[in-house]
C-alpha cells in the first residue's frame, strides 16, 4: 500500500527514496487486475507504464522531471493517444488506432505523468450509467450491483477503487460530476474552452469539456492547471491566462455562496437533502455568507440540453460511414447501403436514438420549432447564471437527485435516464465550471455528491470553496 495524501507528497517520497515509482506502478497494475470485475478499463498499458516508471524515476533522480512526474493517470477512451486504440466504447471504432494525441493528454505526458490505460465509458460518451458500452457495463466499486454513473464511469470507478492516482474524463451534461458523485470521488468540469478539445472525439461540440477525477482537491487543481490553455488546434480554446490553482487553495475571504431553490424541489432524495443542508449549516457557522437565490429556468434545462446535444451529435457522428476509418459492414451492394449497414451495425441503440432525435430536430419544418427554440432557451438559462453571479461567488447544489441506482434499473426508459442529469446539464448549457465533491453517505452507504458552480473561468473559486467545505466537513 502507498501512503501519500496527494501528488506533491508522492513526489517528495519518490525523491527521498521512500517510494519506488516502479513498485507504485506495479501496485496499481495488480489492483487493476484484482478489480477486473469492475470493468473500468478498456485497455491497460502494463509494459509501457512500467517502462515509463523507470524512465521517470531516473528523471526525478536527475532533477529533470515535470511537475506531474510519476502521477499515475487513466484516460477516458474518447481521448486520442497516438498508436493506441481509441474505441469510444463503440463497435464502430473497436479497431481504430489513433494517429495523433489529444492536447490534454499530451500536456500530462509532457509533465511526466504516466498513462496507465484507457477507461470504459458510455458509447461516444452518451449515457448516465455506463451501461451503453460495447465492452459491457462498469460496476460501482462501492456496490458492484450498482452503476458508477456515466458517461465517464470507468474513470470514476478507477479513481474510487484506487486503481490509479487520478483520471481524465469528459463532461457534456454531467459525465464527470455525476459519476464522481456516484463513486465518491472529486470530479471537475472546467469552463467551456478552458481545456483544448483537440483529440477529443466530438459528441456535442458546444458542450464538451475535459476535466480531472481525483481523490483530493490538490491533485484535481494540479491536473487542471496542466491541461488548460490556448491551443491553436482548437479555435474555441480560451487564451485567458491559466492561474496556478493548486497554490491558491487556501484563501482568507469567505466566499458568498448561493443556494438555488429550484435544485431542492421534488425528486431530491431525502438523505441527499439532509447531507447538503448539514453542509450548508456548517458553512454558515463558519462564517460563510449563504444567500438564497433563484435560477428560474432550471426546469427547462433537460429539454434544452437533449434537443441541442442530439442535434450536434447527429451532425458530428455523420463522419462514421465506413469509408475512411472504423467498422465497415461487408453486406452491401452500393455506396449508400455501405453507409447504412455500417452505421446500423456499428452504433449501439442509445447512440442511434440520439442520432434519430437530433436528425429530427434539425430536419426541414422542425428546425425552428425545436432547435432554434432550444437555442433561445439556452440564452435564458445562461442569463439566469449571469444574474446569480452578480450576487454570489459560487452556487451550491446537490450533484444528483439520487445516489447510484442499480444496473438495469433505468436502461429501458431513456427519459428517466436523462432526468438523472437534472442538476448537471445547466453548467454545460451556460459554459460554466462545476465540481462535485463527496460529502457523505446515504442510508445504503452510497456516496453523496455536493456540486459547486462558478462563473466562467472562475475555477479558482471552485477549488477554494471545495477545499474549505471538505475541511469543514472533516473537521
Amino acid at each position: 500500500m502507498h501512503h501519500y495524501k496527494n501528488h506533491s507528497e508522492k513526489l517528495k517520497q519518490i525523491i527521498s527514496g521512500k517510494l519506488s515509482l516502479k513498485e507504485n506502478v506495479k501496485h496499481f497494475l495488480k489492483r487493476i487486475s484484482d478489480h477486473s470485475h469492475l470493468n473500468a478499463f478498456n485497455e491497460v498499458f502494463e509494459q509501457e507504464a512500467i517502462q515509463q516508471a523507470e524512465l521517470i524515476q531516473q528523471k526525478i533522480k536527475d532533477g529533470k522531471h515535470g511537475k506531474l512526474a510519476g502521477l499515475v493517470i487513466a484516460v477516458k477512451d474518447v481521448l486520442q493517444l497516438k498508436d493506441h486504440k481509441t474505441t469510444c466504447s463503440s463497435n464502430i471504432l473497436k479497431n481504430f488506432t489513433s494517429i495523433y494525441t489529444a492536447t490534454a493528454v499530451q500536456k500530462l505526458i509532457d509533465e511526466d505523468a504516466i498513462i496507465i490505460g484507457k477507461t470504459n465509458c458510455d458509447e461516444f460518451a452518451m449515457g448516465s450509467s455506463n451501461e451503453n458500452s460495447v465492452f459491457g457495463p462498469v460496476r460501482n466499486p462501492v456496490d458492484t450491483e450498482r452503476v458508477p454513473g456515466g458517461s465517464s464511469g470507468g474513470s470514476a470507478a478507477a479513481v474510487a477503487a484506487e486503481l490509479c492516482d487520478a483520471a481524465l474524463g469528459t463532461d457534456t451534461g454531467g459525465s464527470i460530476r455525476q459519476p464522481a458523485a456516484f463513486c465518491g470521488v472529486i470530479g471537475l468540469k472546467p469552463t467551456y474552452g478552458r481545456v483544448s478539445r483537440f483529440g477529443l472525439t466530438a459528441f456535442a461540440s458546444s458542450f464538451d469539456s475535459i476535466g480531472p477525477f481525483a481523490n483530493n482537491i490538490h491533485d484535481a487543481a494540479m491536473i487542471l492547471e496542466t491541461i488548460s490553455g490556448k491551443d491553436e488546434k482548437d479555435s474555441t480554446s480560451s487564451d485567458l491566462p491559466v492561474p496556478f490553482y493548486s497554490t491558491r487553495l487556501d484563501q482568507s475571504d469567505k466566499l458568498k455562496i448561493g443556494i438555488p431553490k429550484e435544485y431542492f424541489g421534488e425528486g431530491l432524495a431525502s438523505d441527499i437533502r439532509t447531507a447538503i443542508e448539514n453542509a450548508i449549516s456548517k458553512l454558515k457557522i463558519n462564517g460563510f455568507e449563504i444567500i438564497d437565490i433563484s435560477l428560474p429556468h432550471t426546469e427547462y434545462t433537460i429539454a434544452t440540453y437533449y434537443l441541442l446535444t442530439t442535434a450536434e451529435a447527429s451532425s458530428n457522428l455523420a463522419r462514421y460511414d465506413g469509408t475512411r476509418f472504423g467498422y465497415r459492414s461487408d453486406e452491401f451492394d452500393a455506396l449508400s447501403s455501405m453507409y447504412k449497414k455500417s452505421r446500423s451495425k456499428g452504433f449501439g441503440s442509445e447512440v442511434k436514438r440520439r442520432i434519430m432525435l437530433g436528425t429530427y430536430v434539425l430536419s426541414a419544418g422542425y428546425y425552428d420549432a425545436y432547435y432554434r427554440k432550444a437555442q433561445k432557451v439556452r440564452r435564458l438559462i445562461k442569463n439566469d447564471f449571469d444574474e446569480a453571479f452578480k450576487q454570489v461567488d459560487v452556487i451550491l447544489t446537490p450533484t444528483t437527485p439520487t445516489t447510484a441506482f442499480k444496473i438495469g434499473e433505468k436502461s429501458n426508459d431513456p427519459l428517466q435516464m436523462y432526468l438523472s442529469d437534472i442538476y448537471t446539464t445547466s453548467a454545460n448549457l451556460a459554459g460554466i465550471p462545476g465540481i462535485s465533491i463527496p460529502i457523505g453517505k446515504d442510508s445504503y452507504n452510497l456516496p453523496i455528491g455536493l456540486q459547486l458552480l462558478a462563473n466562467q473561468f472562475e475555477e479558482a473559486k471552485l477549488f477554494q470553496a471545495a477545499n474549505s467545505i471538505l475541511n469543514e466537513i472533516h473537521s
Binding site: 460511414d321 434519430m356 432550444a374
Partner: protein, 97 residues
C-alpha cells in the same frame, strides 16, 4: 406534435440508418415520449430572445494562411477498412442508388 412511424422511417433514411422492425417501433414510441416532454419549452415566450449557439461568445479566430505539415498518406490510410496504395476504396458509386 407527434411523430408517425412513417416520419421515423424518413428520419432514419436522412441519418443513413437502417432500422429493424422492432427499432422502428421502439424509436417511434420513445421519440414521441421525449418530444412530449420537450414541449414544455413552449411555455416560454422567446420572441425577443437571441439564440445562443456558443456558451462563451467570442470573436472569430483568424490565423495566417501558412503551409504546415499534416498527416501523411500512410498514416491517414492506416485505419481504412479498404484501401489501395494511395486511396480509400469504396463500392461503385455511378450506377448505384
Amino acid at each position: 406534435m407527434s411523430v408517425t412511424r412513417k416520419e421515423i422511417e424518413h428520419i432514419a433514411e436522412l441519418a443513413r440508418l437502417q432500422l429493424k422492425e422492432n427499432e422502428l417501433e421502439e424509436y417511434t414510441l420513445q421519440l414521441n415520449k421525449i418530444l412530449d416532454y420537450v414541449e414544455k419549452l413552449n411555455e416560454l415566450d422567446t420572441k425577443n430572445v437571441k439564440p445562443l449557439s456558443h456558451p462563451v461568445e467570442g470573436e472569430n479566430v483568424f490565423r495566417e494562411d501558412e503551409l504546415k505539415p499534416s498527416v501523411d498518406r500512410e498514416e491517414a490510410l492506416k485505419n481504412a477498412p479498404s484501401k489501395n496504395d494511395e486511396f480509400f476504396k469504396v463500392p461503385k458509386v455511378i450506377g448505384g442508388d
